[in-house]
């Protein structure tokens, strides 16, 4: 049993405590510790991903208590891949926060950032539903603090909405967990996978309710329409680096849906037939359409990016809702793309804000650094809209290819292609107002000189864009690996047997014949 499994959870927790207790007044130390921690996380995540890339399942039993009595962390291809994605995203977001000075505008940015990472890593690695709830709460509490970092009335008001909405989501989660426990007597995911199949098909009321409640909770996290209302205001008002980090938070919901609805409630399960396979796809198509219409309708750049996040989550959910290995593989490819592109766009919108009075989509005098910022916006918009040559285009192709045999194929293709066109118009409008019309406005003499964004900010955004390019160039390899991830998800027997049969304290002894 390798102890490295728990390092992605323990390391940020220790660092956060260290930052709060020992380095509270020393921003330089906080920054150094935070960056070093994230670099170490990337190294650990790479190691874990390398170890499971052959198809092995890593298991960590906390306190050596055997599942299903103890709490376990499980690493397979999907969870370690998500851990790696989070760590890499965190590095660039952190660099941007340092470069732009956002971490200096309020207290405890780095400590909260580390706690947020701890919650994210735990949510990806845990093999227990109640632990998933606990890690959700850890990442939410940290996100409440980050969301209102640097204060301001608009931000606090958006923060209230965000916290209230998520509290309701947490309560729903607990209701779902209570129903599942009452029906099956366990909350360990691998154990549940076995017990749910053993439920009498005549008596499925409880488990069906639980399954739908759980899907609702994850759909709130993934901002699936009509449960998306918390997202636009809170992402738009949050500090830009925080919003960029939040780009992975919606993916936690997508990850949880993929995990739970392939392992515990797989699509061919009799007791939950006719539930999520019926209405998840229409909801996903609606999110995709509504998100991209929101892009066109937005009056501010930050809200535009927030709506494009909803739209791209819609695309991910369309692909997941197919519940086929090809669909899940396409969703995984698109998740990586959408995380990187969304984060890059939030950071770029902050670069624009550095040069302007506000982010209203109105012509204002051009500012220092416009050329570079406009170029980055252009690339980011191409990626998010899904035009060739970047990975958004490839991701969209994969989703459409996976949907080719689906019953709703005509609807899916129509919505995917139509929403692309709408978002293309929306992004072009925003870009031309922000950058081209600016040339026709003469700067006024009494305007205060606005500083150029720091070089480190550009490095962070450029890094994300470079990752997007790499995601495009290496699309074949990434897609092949995503296919093996999906194959592993649809053949869960090794996962279940690894979790249940690994001995530990309280492991039921094998009966002698």
């Amino acid at each position: 049993m390798t102890h490295w499994m728990i390092a992605p959870v323990v390391l940020p927790a220790m660092l956060a405590a260290f930052i709060v207790l020992a380095a509270r007044h020393h921003l330089a130390i906080q920054r150094a510790v935070s960056v070093a921690g994230v670099l170490a996380l990337i190294a650990i995540a790479l190691g874990l991903a390398w170890e499971v890339s052959g198809g092995a399942i890593l298991l960590y039993q906390l306190g050596d208590w055997a599942a299903p009595f103890g709490i376990v962390l499980v690493g397979d291809r999907l969870s370690t891949g998500m851990v790696l994605l989070t760590a890499v995203l965190a590095l660039f977001v952190l660099l941007y926060a340092i470069g732009s000075g956002w971490d200096d505008r309020g207290w405890h940015f780095h400590a909260l950032f580390q706690f947020q990472l701890m919650g994210l890593m735990g949510a990806f690695l845990t093999g227990d539903l109640f632990n998933l709830f606990v890690f959700f709460e850890v990442l939410l509490i940290a996100s409440y603090g980050l969301m209102i970092h640097a204060g301001g009335n608009a931000r606090l008001r958006a923060g209230v909405q965000y916290v209230l909405f998520n509290l309701v989501g947490s309560t729903l989660f607990l209701f779902a967990l209570g129903s599942i426990y009452a029906q099956t007597g366990t909350l360990n995911m691998a154990d549940l996978a076995g017990r749910v199949t053993a439920i009498d098909p005549e008596d499925t009321v409880g488990i069906r309710v639980a399954s739908v409640l759980l899907l609702l909770v994850f759909a709130i996290k993934a901002a699936v329409v009509p449960l998306h209302f918390w997202l636009p205001s809170s992402y738009a008002e949050a500090p830009a680096p925080v919003a960029a980090l939040f780009a992975i938070m919606t993916k936690v919901g997508a990850y949880a849906i993929i995990r739970v609805y392939t392992l515990i409630f797989p699509p061919d399960l009799a007791v939950t037939a006719g539930l999520h396979d019926l209405w998840l796809m229409p909801a996903a198509l609606l999110s995709l359409a509504l998100g991209m219409v929101g892009v066109l309708a937005a009056k501010r750049l930050d809200r535009l990016v927030a709506f494009s996040i909803i739209g791209s989550m819609g695309m991910v959910m369309v692909s997941i809702a197919l519940f086929t290995p090809e669909g899940i593989a396409a969703a995984l490819y698109y998740i990586v793309h959408s995380t990187l592109a969304g984060a890059a766009l939030f950071l770029i919108s902050d670069l624009v804000r550095t040069g302007r009075a506000d982010l209203e989509l109105t012509p204002q005098p051009p500012v220092a650094g416009t050329t570079l910022t406009a170029g980055l916006f252009f690339v980011g918009a191409i990626a998010m809209v899904g035009l060739p040559p970047l990975s958004g285009f490839l991701g969209k192709l994969l989703v459409m290819q996976a949907a080719y045999d689906a019953p709703l194929m005509a609807w899916i293709w129509a919505v995917v292609l139509g929403s692309s066109l709408i978002s293309l118009v929306g992004f072009s409008r925003a870009g031309s107002i922000l950058f081209w019309k600016a040339e026709s406005i003469a700067p006024q003499d009494n305007d205060p000189a606005r500083p150029r964004p720091a070089a480190l900010s550009y490095v962070a955004v450029g890094g994300l864009i470079a990752l997007l390019a790499a995601h495009t160039v290496l699309a074949g390899q990434v897609q092949a690996y995503a296919t093996t991830m999906a194959a592993q998800l649809f053949a869960p027997d090794p996962y279940v047997s690894t979790v249940i049969d690994t001995p530990g304290k309280l492991h039921p002894p094998k009966e002698d014949p």
Partner: protein, 118 residues
């Protein structure tokens, strides 16, 4: 006893949802508190209702209460308590900052400090 517990959960949930749909922060927070009480009792009942049964294995006892929901409830109580404190603080900050405690987006522009404290 089942009827009593079930109707208690039901009434708490109904009241919580009604208050949650109000327009101002304070009733919404109260509603969410009621809802968390409801879910705590619900979680507690998910291990079946027993009276006077021991939760820990002993030689001279034959019937047991399920100890796991009690542990789950303890976690849930701590988390919901902390969350309520957080939302009260943020709500109070938003109210004191804008003299307005509606939870929806304001009609007009609020004085926009989105550029940060600097």
């Amino acid at each position: 006893m089942e009827l009593l517990v079930a109707s208690a959960i039901g009434i708490l949930t109904a009241g919580g949802i009604y208050l949650m749909l109000r327009l101002r922060t304070f009733p919404v927070i109260l509603g969410i508190s009621l809802l968390t009480y409801a879910v705590n009792v619900f979680l507690f009942a998910s291990g079946r209702l027993t009276v006077g049964a021991a939760p820990i294995l002993r030689d001279d006892v034959s019937g047991y209460a399920d100890p796991l929901p009690q542990a789950l409830v303890l976690t849930a109580i701590v988390i919901s308590f902390g969350m309520t404190a957080v939302v009260v603080m943020i709500g109070l900050g938003a109210f004191l900052g804008s003299e307005d405690d509606h939870v929806d987006d304001p009609k007009g522009p609020v004085d926009d400090l989105a550029g940060g404290g600097s």
